[in-house]
Symmetry: C2
Subunit: 307 residues, 2 copies
């Protein structure tokens, strides 16, 4: 590999998926002068047109194989369920020395789906920037999205070490703090810090929408009492999240069953008027919040895009 692992520069980046994360990453690479040209790959004509219009990419295609041709960096920024098909098409066109990476929220399945299609001499560095908003599409992206957030890399023992350094350098230039983790552990950690919260949020918003005795307009009107915060999360991209739950099924189901056990205990405490159990838990959870505030992860932090 001839690339500078500390300050990498890519001649030609293939960005497969130009949504919130993909377009934000493209903006970072432009801002940092890390890239010669970017080819954006998207299925829909509207997305391709928007990505060109915003100047996020230099050219567009709907064909992963064409995107892969001549690319020294190939980045998957599409829903997890698409990885296999994309790599089946793109793999044969990737030249030795190219690096494949991704931004998916589950990693065991990513490694499983991508690895079989890697030609000799092409490294795959699984990555997951823990950042996002509830908005989707190329226009939702912004270069500061990853600032002060964590990006988790989950290379296997076989992954080319220099390629891992290159991808780590890319994320550091995005302002992220980079951590390495075993893929299976990543999936467990994210099941609790991200996937379960999303599932619960989607569920409660659905429950509220289905009530007969309370109208949807009442739910909306009085949402400031707590519900509101769940709706933000439950507005996240439906296809992306469907794929995450299916891809990380085992860990999500494990976390969900623990959640259910704990909830049954609270339900019982409410039914029997056991105030001690409630108060004890509510006091304990306050500490966790304090930890998050102290760690600087409490707010969305840096600049939000104008909307």
């Amino acid at each position: 590999m001839s690339i500078d692992t500390k300050r990498p520069h890519f001649e030609r980046v293939a960005l497969v998926g130009v949504g919130l994360i993909g377009s934000s990453l493209a903006r970072v690479m432009r801002r940092e002068g890390m890239v010669g040209s970017i080819i954006g790959c998207a299925r829909t004509e509207a997305t391709r047109a928007k990505a060109l219009e915003l100047g996020i990419v230099d050219e567009v295609t709907d064909d992963p194989a064409q995107a892969a041709t001549g690319a020294d960096l190939f980045i998957l920024c599409t829903p997890l369920g698409t990885y296999g098909d994309i790599m089946a098409a793109a793999g044969p066109m990737l030249a030795a020395g190219a690096i494949v990476t991704d931004v998916g929220s589950a990693k065991v399945c990513t490694i499983r789906d991508v690895t079989p299609f890697l030609p000799e001499g092409v490294a795959f560095v699984p990555a997951h920037p823990v950042a996002g908003t509830e908005h989707s599409g190329p226009e939702a992206g912004f270069a500061e999205l990853f600032q002060d957030r964590w990006c988790i890399l989950t290379p296997t023992p076989e992954t080319d070490a220099a390629a891992v350094d290159v991808v780590a350098a890319l994320w550091k230039r995005a302002g992220s703090k980079v951590e390495r983790m075993e893929a299976k552990h990543h999936d467990l950690v994210l099941a609790v810090t991200s996937h379960l919260p999303h599932l619960i949020a989607y569920n409660i918003v659905g429950t509220a929408a289905d009530l007969e005795a309370v109208t949807e307009s009442e739910v909306i009107k009085y949402s400031a009492g707590g519900f509101r915060d769940f709706t933000r999360i439950a507005a996240s991209d439906p296809v992306m999240w469907r794929d995450i739950f299916l891809a990380n099924r085992e860990a999500v189901l494990e976390m969900l069953s623990r959640f259910n056990e704990d909830l049954a205990r609270l339900q019982r405490a409410i039914r029997w008027g056991d105030g001690e159990t409630l108060r004890d838990l509510f006091t304990r959870t306050r500490q966790i919040r304090r930890g998050i505030v102290d760690s600087g992860q409490a707010s969305n932090g840096p600049p939000k895009p104008p909307r």
Copy 2:
């Protein structure tokens, strides 16, 4: 009643509980020049000293009876479980023409606990400002907390109409939009828009804290993936929330069992790889968020207190 129902002025307000909501309301009444003097009633010496130091109240006491003496407005801003004892002490000291009101998050129990202690000629106007933050105490309050939020009044058919107008006028001066509702319906609406979300948030934060395979520091580090938003809610005042769940038990348990049924369906969909069910729900919940954004209830809106 001699008070101006449109632009009420109170000679002497008794503020029982000087926490986030109570101290914010006191700040509003000062700002609007609606009050002669305010006596703050609090159990702990530290709270009384802080309320005096911040100039939120003119005098303090730990005795509800003393607070009630000579008060033309008596406001309960303490956890729901304290109402009965406070009113048992304060009731006999309330003079005819005085108005009692509160800010509690459940209303059926409030009416049940307060009404028996009202002397002849004293009106009780149950009120619930749907606003708050995760912070507690006199120093957490700020006058803009209620701006553009809803305040729900739940008078019974017996409640003095002029007293209801006075309390409505108070909340309008706080910047709130005022709605009247039957107490039982209020408790159902708030069970879904506020109580259930808090219960779920407390529960998931507890589940995360108890994991063996994922450390608390990992949970904190990667909380930006969605978990973070739950911790904010789960940092709300433990005693206040214990009392809400116990006070609104029936409605909370009803909402919780619907939530559980819906969650079991999602669990099954994940286990069996039923992507359609997941995607359909996730698409539907997005609409609700849109309604909240359109209604102007999406953000915490107006000024936050410096912290």
